[in-house]
Symmetry: C2
Subunit: 299 residues, 2 copies
């Protein structure tokens, strides 16, 4: 069961209390693809510029990811530069240069169209719609978004929501989208807009899953040290979708296990800069931490 991931490919410059990193592999499509690669075959679709290091593509390929969908365009790669505060809960974006990402228009190959599982990472909702229209008949489509699109392209975003099975948003986005002050009402409101499943990401506070069967609350894994929170939400979504694809199921039990798998890979992601934690992360470590989640929440 293959997973299609459409989103950004980026070079990140991150400054955090633990240090800094330059020209690091980033972008939602890369974070989600690497996280999902522990569960299923992943086909990311995105665009890189002339300055994108071959070593980053080699790393993705070594994870078993099909890198043929990462187009190489003539121009600079999307660059993001951010600085985290001491608490890591807040960050300042110092620079966003879209580069070749500005004119990104995802065109799917036959193999990509045929994917049963689709994750639309945070890109312009018009592009998300275009991807949905190119797909054949996927079993489960999930989408992410951001405050910018809620503000500026609300109509297209609502159309995307009508067409997907699952929305994965953070708490602020969910409240903003529904103009609610309560997360439960916000999630119910989003379900009424289309997706039968809504996931609210709350960073270090975990995630809430809302589906036809009720609510599931998963904590974030408590860590003694967090180095770089960048991409944790995308890793969560990648692990979530990868877990569903591996199980080949979307019942309530599969959705809950997928949320915990998403939380598990996200917890590894933040232990090092960029995607570095996944350079040597073994599948057995994911299984062990999934089991630790059971112990963490058992009563």
């Amino acid at each position: 069961m293959s997973l299609l991931v459409v989103g950004s490919v980026a070079l990140d410059h991150v400054e955090a209390p633990a240090g800094s990193i330059e020209d690091a592999l980033g972008g939602a499509a890369c974070y989600a693809a690497v996280a999902a690669s522990y569960f299923t075959r992943v086909h990311p679709v995105g665009v890189a510029g002339h300055d994108f290091p071959q070593a980053h593509l080699d790393f993705l390929a070594a994870k078993g990811i099909d890198v043929s969908g990462i187009e190489r365009a003539d121009g600079p790669t999307f660059r993001w530069r951010g600085r985290y505060h001491e608490s890591l809960n807040r960050r300042d974006t110092l620079l966003t240069e879209l580069g070749v990402f500005e004119h990104f228009e995802p065109k799917l190959s036959d193999a990509q169209r045929a994917c049963d599982w689709v994750f639309l990472a945070n890109i312009h909702p018009g592009l998300q719609l275009g991807v949905v229209e190119q797909t054949a008949s996927p079993r489960f489509v999930a989408m992410d978004s951001m405050n910018l699109w809620i503000d500026t392209t609300r109509a297209e975003l609502l159309e995307v929501l009508r067409r997907v099975d699952c929305a994965v948003l953070n708490d602020e986005e969910a409240l903003q989208l529904t103009e609610e002050s309560n997360l439960v009402r916000a999630a119910e409101g989003i379900r009424e807009l289309g997706p039968s499943t809504v996931i609210i990401k709350r960073g270090e506070h975990g995630a809430l899953l809302f589906d036809a069967e009720g609510i599931f609350a998963a904590p974030a894994f408590p860590l003694r040290e967090v180095v770089d929170p960048t991409g944790a939400g995308d890793c969560f979504a990648g692990g979530f979708m990868g877990s569903l694809a591996r199980e080949g199921a979307t019942d309530a039990g599969a959705l809950r296990r997928a949320v915990v798998h998403g939380s598990t890979v996200a917890s590894f992601c933040v232990e090092r800069f960029s995607l570095d934690r996944f350079r040597d992360l073994e599948a057995a470590e994911i299984d062990a931490r999934f089991a630790a989640f059971r112990e963490l929440t058992r009563f």
Copy 2:
């Protein structure tokens, strides 16, 4: 197994998006005592002024609480007035008048001294120490505190921590006390100061329990409507201590169930102003929500 609770008795004026309430029953000792009353016999120790309505004492007594330890002093009751923001995550304190609480000096009766279970709500650590010294040989003593005491009476607070079994603090207090930026390290640091059990309250994000066996994460119960968050943390502590007292046990399993019982009563507390939700709350509703917590976290 009786529970001693020492802390404030107050008249609250609360303004929130859902409305407002005046001269309402408040104070940490009252919130904790009412929450604990669903599990065990409670002996609150505190001081009320001449203006404290008899109806509030009658309500406590009707809950089976021993109100003989609530001294009636000549002067005004401690008054707190606060206003919540739209999101309910933030509030402004508009007024704090200590009244008779300023000269509160807890003196325990024989029955109070003999209690096996002790909760020292947020009062001056010097008073908390005085209570510990008056008790006979309690099985389990828990304490709360606040940023003011961490700032101004640190030495006495550290002495309290050396003498108790459990610290119940919110996330900001735990970080401030240990000068840490990470909650896991903060909790470990507090355990090194004395208490074998540390609970970090995170409001709508739930609670974390740290003990010799590891970490337990409990979510807050997701509610469609929150009316008044005042006293939720004190209800949590009261439910936690009451549950331990009822089980007569402090092993890892009992501590985890106690955290969920604390979260359960706290979730009822915020559904109405002041302690009003407990006027008609039945024990069966607590059992049902405890079961719902299992469903909420099962995977």
